[in-house]
Symmetry: C2
DNA sequence: TAAGGGAACTTGTACAAACAAGCGAGCCCT
DNA sequence: AGGGCTCGCTTGTTTGTACAAGTTCCCTTA
């Protein structure tokens, strides 16, 4: 059962994406949309709130809402899972475990995942036949057995863990910066040592807030970019000081 | 006049940040919060929705809400304006225009800003005395005079343009990736040619959706990172294919 | 002609009520 | 002891109403 406001949001998003409401144009008023869909104004407001949160629509008191963009914004899953993102965009991709072993957690990992041993996995992923992403992931102790049971060439770890252990990645925190390729990075990604990599460090938890993994993912420069739309009202991406001068 | 739900949100956020509700703990139920603040349930829902959007709180049907994090998330302005971000975080910073001239727009710029001449500004910014950020910004024709009127060592362009022209940057689209430093980048930022830079390309518009600027900002590696919190429900940061194989 | 003052429209905030849906704990039965 | 079930609690969805606040545009007035 899909909620009413979601169906209205889907329909509106579709109209934006197909150009019925081009970029810069005004959206119908809430009253108009409410009548068209035979819904209460509150329901319509929830629907457009979805589009505002996606950055497709701009909204301010007193003025009609306007269309800001017409690019589909992807889901949490696609941000979180390389495989789901690549599949949703129709890319050819592979994955391969290079190394996998248990070890004591680092200080930073212990703070997030707890003091028990973590499962350290080094995974190389390729897009359109070329190596693109190197993942260094530390899995929490309690999920380690399920990860070890996966085949080394497993396409989507996220989906496999859901199927085998019922695990759902629900919340994530991501830190994005640029680093230069180390010796191992360079060898596995097929770039020169010192060449730029886009790094995404992330920590994810289950619905209950239980920590699942910490990861250091490094993308070959030029292979992927992260995109965000924001507005004065609300945004969640923030700039943070790195550790150049500030020792964090 | 601050909205009721915002005051409730502020109070709740404060309780989370000060540890009254530690990470992993349950938040009071909506009914409880409603009674405590003598507000309707809907108003309380609006308040917690703010915190959910900030990534501080996780929410799912049937279960009590839980605290996910306790780091303050910054505002749109701080993401958009280097000066406002640096000031809010108590850093020492400077800015200096290196070069400034009018020129015809590139194809990409013309698509966003229109066919008229743009004002191209090259600006170097430093943090704690070290050069950290190189901004290459193209301002739309209509705002160019106001930008040219600014002093070359202007600290905050965003604020100066608000004061002088009443300009408000309201919506932005950002694309984040890693590139290697070119000759000019290297010289001005004081790094070796080819060393990694974190690049943020952005396009911003006014409230009315009128394009203001396109910019290519390059941060020295290690100086800043971008941070995002997201959840299965909603997120706006997405991964995008770069132009390595896909010619975008 | 230009400035000023509304009036109509549109979005934002707040309240109240009802039902749906999911979670968790405790209870009962085997 | 363990498994299954029910019941109460909690969050999600929807409707309706009322007023506040900001925008837009037209019309009046100087």
């Amino acid at each position: 059962m899909v909620a009413r406001y979601e169906r209205i949001a889907d329909e509106l998003r579709d109209e934006i994406l197909t150009g019925v409401h081009p970029v810069g144009a005004q959206l119908p008023s809430e009253a108009e949309l409410a009548e068209r869909h035979r819904a209460a104004r509150g329901t319509v407001r929830q629907a457009v709130a979805v589009l505002v949160a996606e950055g497709l629509v701009g909204s301010r008191q007193g003025a009609r809402r306007i269309v800001l963009g017409n690019a589909r914004s992807q889901s949490f899953a696609e941000l979180h899972s390389f495989a789901q993102w690549a599949r949703a965009n129709g890319y050819r991709f592979e994955g391969q475990v290079i190394r996998q072993h248990r070890r004591p957690p680092s200080a930073a990992e212990a703070a997030r995942l707890g003091p028990q041993e973590v499962l350290d996995v080094l995974r190389l992923r390729s897009l359109e036949g070329e190596p693109v992403l190197l993942e260094r992931t530390a899995y929490a102790h309690w999920i380690a057995p399920a990860v070890e049971a996966l085949p080394p060439e497993c396409e989507s770890v996220t989906e496999a863990l859901y199927d085998s252990a019922g695990l759902v990645f629900a919340y994530g925190e991501h830190l994005i910066d640029a680093v230069s390729a180390g010796a191992q990075d360079a060898r596995l990604l097929g770039v020169r040592r010192g060449s730029p990599l886009l790094r995404q460090r992330r920590a994810t938890t289950t619905y209950e807030g239980r920590p699942v993994e910490c990861s250091d993912d490094r993308y070959r420069a030029g292979s992927v970019a992260f995109s965000i739309r924001n507005s004065l009202g609300a945004n969640s991406l923030v700039r943070r000081a790195g550790d150049l001068h500030f020792g964090a």
